[in-house]
C-alpha cells in the first residue's frame, strides 16, 4: 500500500479519473447547449490523464498545466482516440471549443488538487488531502449537474415546439430570431388556458393561508412556549405527532365530508383546509423561537402593568418579526406548492389553483412545451421569493425542523 502511495502513481490516477469526469461533463454540457453529438472517450481520458498527472506531480502547475492539457486535448480531438469524440460533421470550431473547455477544466482544478504533492512517497496527509480535493471537485460538478439539468430542461422545453423536441431530444438550442415568438407557449397558456386566473387564485389562497395560519398559531405557540398550565408538555409533543399524519389519509375523509357539505370545488373549502396543514409547522417553529426570547423583557412589561395580551402585542411580536417572516415564507411556499388537496377537491377549471392547472396540462392532447411552460410559471414566483429572501428561508427551514 505504501509503495502505491507515490506521487507518480496517485497523480496520474486522480488525473485520469478527473479527465473522465470532465470529458463526460463537457460532452453533456455541449450536447445540451449545441445539440451536436459528443461523447467521452475512455482511451483519450487515459492518455491525457497519465500525461497531465505526471506533469502535475513533476511540478507543472496553474496555467502551464492547463495549457498542456488544452494542447493535448485539441491534438487528440483530431485523432480517433480523442478524449471527447465527435459525431460526423462536427465543425473544427466546436472541436476547438470542446478541447479548450476540457483542457482548462482539467488543468486548473488538477493543479489545485495536486498542490503540495511531490512525485515521491506521499504522507498520509498529502494523500488524503489530494483525494479529498478530488472528491470535492467531483462533488461540485455532480451536485450542480443533478440540480441544474432538470430545471434547464424544463425552461428550454417550454421554449421549443413538439416537433423539434421529437426530432432531436438533445437539441436545446433556441432560435433567437423568433423574438417574442419564443414565448408563444406562455402566451397560449395565459390566453387559452386561463393561467392568469390560476396564478391569481394561487396567490390569494397562499396569502390567506399565511394570514390564517399566523392568526391561529401565534397565540397557540405563545401559550405553549411561555405559559404554565397542566398538559403543556404533552401538548408540545403532540404538535410533532400531527406532523406525522400523512395527508392522503386525511384527504379521504375530507373529500367525503366536502362532497356531502358541497364544499368541493370551492375556494372557500381550500382556504379552510390549507391552514390546518400548515398550523402544526408554524406552531412548532414559532414556539421554538418564543422560547429563545429572553423572558425578562416580557416580565418587565408585566411589571409595568401591561396585560399578557398587550405584552404579546407590544413586546413579543415586534421582537419576533424575523421569525414571523421565516414562518410566513415557509407557509407561503407550502400553500403555493400544495398539490394533493387541490387535485382531489377541485374539478372545475374556473377555480383551479396553479398546481391543479398544471396537472390539467398533463394529457396527451396538450403539447409538452405547454406543460413545461406551466411548470415554469408555477416555479418562478416561489423561486424568486426564495432567492430574494434566502436567509429567512434557510433559517426558517432549519428552525422548524420542517415538513416533508
Amino acid at each position: 500500500m505504501a509503495g502505491l502511495r507515490q506521487g507518480r502513481v496517485i497523480g496520474p490516477q486522480i488525473a485520469v479519473l478527473w479527465a473522465y469526469v470532465i470529458a463526460l461533463s463537457v460532452s453533456v454540457l455541449l450536447s445540451f447547449t449545441t445539440g451536436a453529438a459528443f461523447r467521452p472517450g475512455v482511451i483519450g481520458a487515459l492518455l491525457i490523464g497519465v500525461a497531465v498527472g505526471l506533469a502535475a506531480v513533476q511540478g507543472l502547475r496553474g496555467w502551464a498545466l492547463a495549457g498542456l492539457a488544452v494542447a493535448l486535448a485539441i491534438a487528440l480531438g483530431f485523432t480517433p482516440v480523442g478524449v471527447i469524440r465527435f459525431g460526423d460533421g462536427t465543425g473544427a470550431g466546436l472541436k476547438l471549443l470542446a478541447g479548450g473547455l476540457f483542457g482548462l477544466s482539467l488543468g486548473l482544478p488538477l493543479s489545485w488538487m495536486m498542490a503540495g504533492c511531490p512525485a515521491g512517497a506521499l504522507t498520509r496527509h498529502e494523500f488524503e488531502e489530494a483525494e479529498i480535493r478530488f472528491l470535492t471537485g467531483f462533488g461540485y460538478i455532480f451536485f450542480t449537474a443533478i440540480v441544474a439539468i432538470p430545471f434547464y430542461v424544463m425552461v428550454m422545453t417550454s421554449l421549443k415546439s413538439q416537433g423539434e423536441l421529437i426530432a432531436n431530444p438533445l437539441d436545446f438550442t433556441i432560435d433567437l430570431s423568433q423574438g417574442w415568438g419564443l414565448f408563444r407557449s406562455y402566451v397560449e397558456l395565459f390566453r387559452d388556458f386561463n393561467f392568469g386566473s390560476y396564478l391569481w387564485t394561487s396567490f390569494y389562497v397562499s396569502v390567506l393561508t399565511v394570514l390564517i395560519t399566523l392568526a391561529f398559531s401565534i397565540p397557540g405557540a405563545y401559550a405553549i412556549a411561555r405559559l404554565k398550565f397542566r398538559g403543556q408538555k404533552p401538548m408540545s409533543r403532540s404538535i410533532l405527532l400531527i406532523y406525522m399524519v400523512p395527508m392522503i389519509v386525511l384527504a379521504l375523509p375530507i373529500y367525503i365530508a366536502f362532497s356531502m357539505l358541497g364544499l368541493r370545488n370551492s375556494i372557500l373549502g381550500i382556504v379552510m383546509i390549507y391552514p390546518v396543514t400548515t398550523i402544526p409547522v408554524s406552531l412548532y417553529m414559532l414556539q421554538g423561537y418564543f422560547r429563545g426570547l429572553p423572558a425578562e423583557i416580557e416580565e418587565a412589561g408585566l411589571m409595568d402593568g401591561l396585560s399578557r395580551l398587550k405584552v404579546i402585542w407590544k413586546i413579543t411580536l415586534p421582537l419576533s418579526l424575523p421569525a414571523l417572516a421565516s414562518v410566513s415564507l415557509y407557509v407561503f411556499m407550502i400553500a403555493w406548492n400544495e398539490f394533493l388537496l387541490a387535485f382531489m377537491l377541485l374539478d372545475d377549471p374556473s377555480r383551479f389553483t396553479l398546481t391543479r392547472g398544471v396537472a390539467m396540462l398533463n394529457s396527451s392532447e396538450v403539447p409538452r412545451q405547454h406543460l413545461m411552460a406551466g411548470a415554469v410559471i408555477a416555479t418562478v414566483p416561489v423561486m424568486a421569493l426564495f432567492l430574494g429572501l434566502e436567509k429567512f428561508m434557510t433559517r426558517g427551514l432549519t428552525a422548524g425542523s420542517v415538513k416533508g
Partner: protein, 414 residues
C-alpha cells in the same frame, strides 16, 4: 403569630395563567380537532363500511314538477303533475312525503287519494320507495284568470320532499370485507415491499447525499450562500413542476437522457425508466433522494457549523489526517442530528404520496401504501378499501412514532 409558609397548590395567578393559555390554544385546538382528529376517527369508521364512491350521495327522493295541458285562457283544463323517483337504484326510502304550494289560479278538480290540501299547501304521503322506484302524481284541474294575471310558474316553488333512507356512512352495518380484500389480494405484499424499498433507500440515500453536500459546503468561500440556495432548488420548487420535468427528461421516446445514453453508447435502445419493473421503483426512489437531499444537507450543515473548531485544532496538533478527523470527530458530533433526521425522514418518506403519483401513477411496481389508498378509493371507487389501507398506514405510523419518541427523549436538539 403564625409562621409564614410558601403557598401550596395553585394560586389564583397560576389559575389565571392556565385559563389564558387554554384560551389562546382553543382556536388552534378546535381547528386541529376538526381537520385532523375527526378525519382520523372517520377513517377507522369508514374502513369497516361497505362504501363505494357512488354511495357518497345519500339516497333521496327527487321530483320533477310540471303544468301539463298547455292552458291558453281562463277555464282551460290543465294537469299539475309531479314525477318522482328514488335517486338510488338500490336503497329503500321509507315514509316519503311531498309538500308544495298550490299555484295561484289553479282549481283542483280531483285530488289524488294520497294527497290532502291544507290551506294553500298540497301535502302527499307516498309511503315507501323501493330502489329505483318511479311514481307520478297527476292532479287535474282548471285554471282561472288569476293564473294568467300572475303569470304563474310552477317551478317557482320547489316541492319539499322528505324520506328516511338508510345511509351507508351513518347506519350500523359493518363488514370486515375491506380488510379481507386488502390482505387477500396478491398485490398486498408487493405494495408492502415497494413501500419498504422506497422508504428505506429513499431515507438513507437522502441522508448520505445530504451529508456529502454538507461536507462540500462546509468551508468558507465566496458564493457559498448562493451555492447553498442553489442546492435547495429541488426542495423549494413545486413538486408538480419537478416531477413533470423528470418525466419529460426520462421519456422513452423523446427524453433527453435516453438520447444522451444512446449517443454515448451506454445503451442501444431507449429505456423506459418509469415504466419497467424494477427500474421504475429505483427511479422514484432516486427522485425522492434528489428532491429531499437538500433538507438533510441544510440540517447537517447547520450542525457542522456549530461544532467547536478548537477540537479540530487539537486534532491537527496530534497529527490526525483529514479522514480521521471526519471519522472520529465530525461523525460522532453529527450522530444526533443524523438519527433524528433519519427517523423524521423515514416517517415522511413513508407518508409520501404526490411524488410517486405524479411520476408513475403507481404503475410498474411503484404502488406504495399511500398510493394504494388513492388507487383503491378513487381509481377502483372503493372508498371502504381505501380507508382500510389508510388504517394499515396509521397503525404502522403509530409504531414509528413510538420509536421516534423513545429516541427523541435521548437526543436533544429538534
Amino acid at each position: 403569630m403564625t409562621a409564614a409558609t410558601p403557598p401550596k397548590g395553585r394560586g389564583p395567578l397560576a389559575r389565571r395563567e392556565a385559563r389564558l393559555a387554554w384560551g389562546l390554544l382553543l382556536p388552534t385546538l378546535t381547528a386541529v380537532m376538526l381537520v385532523v382528529i375527526l378525519p382520523l376517527l372517520a377513517i377507522f369508521w369508514i374502513s369497516v363500511k361497505p362504501v363505494e364512491l357512488s354511495d357518497l350521495r345519500a339516497p333521496a327522493p327527487v321530483a320533477n314538477e310540471q303544468m301539463r295541458g298547455r292552458p291558453a285562457e281562463a277555464g282551460d283544463e290543465a294537469s299539475w303533475r309531479f314525477r318522482l323517483r328514488n335517486s338510488s337504484p338500490e336503497a329503500l326510502i321509507t315514509g316519503v312525503t311531498l309538500r308544495d304550494v298550490v299555484p295561484d289560479g289553479f282549481e283542483i278538480a280531483e285530488l289524488d287519494p294520497r294527497c290532502t290540501i291544507e290551506g294553500e299547501i298540497l301535502a302527499c304521503d307516498l309511503g315507501d320507495f323501493e330502489g329505483g322506484a318511479r311514481e307520478t302524481i297527476e292532479i287535474p284541474g282548471i285554471v282561472t284568470q288569476a293564473y294568467f294575471d300572475n303569470d304563474v310558474d310552477v317551478d317557482a316553488t320547489e316541492p319539499a320532499l322528505t324520506g328516511d333512507a338508510d345511509f351507508v356512512l351513518t347506519n350500523f352495518e359493518f363488514t370486515w370485507e375491506n380488510f379481507a380484500l386488502l390482505f387477500d389480494s396478491r398485490d398486498f405484499w408487493t405494495v408492502i415491499g415497494a413501500t419498504l424499498f422506497y422508504t428505506v433507500f429513499g431515507t438513507i440515500g437522502a441522508l448520505v447525499v445530504g451529508l456529502f453536500a454538507a461536507l462540500l459546503l462546509n468551508r468558507e468561500f465566496r458564493g457559498q450562500g448562493l451555492m447553498r440556495g442553489f442546492y435547495l432548488f429541488p426542495y423549494v420548487a413545486p413538486v408538480i413542476a419537478v416531477a413533470f420535468s423528470w418525466v419529460i427528461l426520462f421519456d422513452p421516446f423523446s427524453g433527453s437522457v435516453n438520447a444522451l445514453l444512446v449517443q454515448m453508447g451506454v445503451s442501444d435502445s431507449a429505456i423506459n425508466f418509469f415504466g419497467e419493473r424494477p427500474l421504475a421503483l429505483i427511479m422514484v426512489t432516486v427522485f425522492e433522494i434528489w428532491r429531499y437531499f437538500p433538507l438533510s444537507f441544510l440540517f447537517i450543515l447547520a450542525r457542522m457549523q456549530s461544532i467547536d473548531t478548537d477540537m479540530y485544532e487539537a486534532a491537527d496538533m496530534d497529527g490526525a489526517s483529514p479522514f480521521q478527523k471526519f471519522r472520529y470527530l465530525s461523525l460522532p458530533q453529527l450522530m444526533g442530528i443524523l438519527s433524528v433526521l433519519f427517523l423524521l425522514r423515514f416517517i415522511w418518506t413513508f407518508n409520501k404520496f404526490d411524488d410517486i403519483f405524479l411520476l408513475t401513477g403507481g404503475n410498474a411496481g411503484t404502488r406504495t401504501l399511500t398510493v394504494n389508498v388513492y388507487e383503491q378509493a378513487f381509481a377502483l371507487s372503493n372508498i371502504g378499501a381505501g380507508a382500510a389501507v389508510a388504517v394499515v398506514i396509521m397503525l404502522a405510523l403509530l409504531c414509528f412514532s413510538w420509536l421516534f419518541f423513545r429516541f427523541m427523549s435521548q437526543e436533544e436538539g429538534l
